[in-house]
Symmetry: C2
């Protein structure tokens, strides 16, 4: 039987999702919790890796066990006893072999958080990135519209990754302004059918550079055409990025969360 989990984590202390030799990963603490809670040595597969320092509010993962009798909806409470408090199982479900948390994913939404301040703010610096000045929102929206749709995002991809195709569809880039703890916030929601390594962080960095006039729409279009990473701005820091939701359409429905 395939057990499916929705999990949330504060990525600050982790070397990302994937198991590493010399650093603690989210995958490792999750597999260890399954072993301690259920006595099963399993391999847990996620919807996708998250990088070192990246957070998740709705990562989805699965593992297989044919000898486990626990009802899937009771899994979270069971595992949370053995998980560190910065990693939490928030919902459980079961699925047939046809369901794969990676391959069955239809859409993913990430949120990138920034705040405006001349100095680092202790209450914001953990999950958001400081900028001296938030760019103009209408400019951000205009440039974002150039990125929405099906494009070859090769230029937005960190080198060294091996994927069959670098064509992805971005369904939506949405901006949300706010004020918290006395300073301005901006959250950038990016939804797509899949993302290349570092793609969301490069999208956000490029949007800021475009809106701040450091590059032009023309250079962006050239980057789409010839796929050169050097034509785009810097990759934004990991700590501002959170995997918000993975959508499987009708293939996955969690009970009460």
């Amino acid at each position: 039987m395939r057990f499916i989990l929705k999990i949330a984590y504060d990525g600050t202390a982790y070397a990302g999702w994937q198991r590493q030799k010399n650093a603690v990963s989210v995958q490792q603490v999750l597999e260890e919790a399954v072993e301690r809670a259920l006595g099963k040595n399993v391999r847990v597969t996620a919807s996708g890796r998250t990088d070192a320092g990246v957070h998740a509010a709705g990562q989805v993962c699965h593992f297989d066990s044919n000898s486990l009798t626990i009802p899937p909806e009771r899994l979270p409470d069971c595992l949370n006893k053995y998980l560190p408090c910065d990693v939490r199982a928030v919902a459980g479900a079961s699925g047939g072999d046809g369901f794969d948390s990676n391959r069955s994913a239809k859409r993913k939404t990430y949120v990138y958080s920034v705040y405006e301040s001349s100095r680092e703010m202790p209450l914001k610096q953990r999950y958001a990135v400081r900028v001296e000045k938030l760019p103009d929102l209408s400019a951000l929206r205009e440039f974002a519209s150039l990125m929405v749709g099906e494009h070859d995002f090769k230029a937005f991809c960190a080198s060294g990754s091996s994927v069959k195709t670098t064509v992805r569809t971005v369904y939506e880039i949405r901006f949300e302004e706010g004020i918290s703890f006395g300073s301005r916030d901006l959250k950038i929601y990016v939804t797509g059918n899949g993302f290349l390594y570092n793609m969301v962080r490069t999208i956000v960095g490029e949007l800021f550079d475009l809106a701040n006039g450091r590059r032009t729409a023309k250079s962006l279009l050239t980057a789409f055409e010839n796929g050169e990473r050097g034509l785009l701005g810097k990759t934004m820091p990991a700590k501002g990025l959170t995997l918000l939701e993975v959508d499987y359409g009708d293939a996955l429905r969690f009970d009460v969360e």
Copy 2:
């Protein structure tokens, strides 16, 4: 000369503002930073103590030195080099002896943060408190209106504190709903001319109990009349509370933050 600082801190790791014998306080790390940065052994006085675990986005404090030649607006960068990253000086100013960060304060605003979830959320649990279900907002507003104004808040005060009077004026209690990282948030802003020990946390706990029907407006009015702490609900946890702003009217103006 009197040097005035606006400071922000993540209170998680601290035993509150005030110096303690066997625990690290915000006052201690600030006084140590002044000594290391400026070579002066000073006593730093704040607008008021914050409790263990309580955060601040706009605490104000001052210290005196007649031999210091640094321009006050340069103090924050100077001190931040010697402060841990969960305590930051965000603005500096100077004032005459007439200004006292405690006695000159006209209004203070605290914000209390909660979120709705059946389980602890790693990305929220540091600065907000989980509730199973957010109470009805119109009920909260109705009961809050009974607390606004000048009252004897003796029943809202933790025992053991010694103050001349327990009469305080609450100017405003404001509610702000939102959604972040996939779940509902509620922020409760409380502004008053001053607050007793644990008063904001007791106000919030009592508002929730009233809105959830655990107590009635009548018992609240009785608590105002006879000052018995036992008539009110529990004190909410420290980690949800942040000192947002201290207002000194025209007596204090910070330059660029």
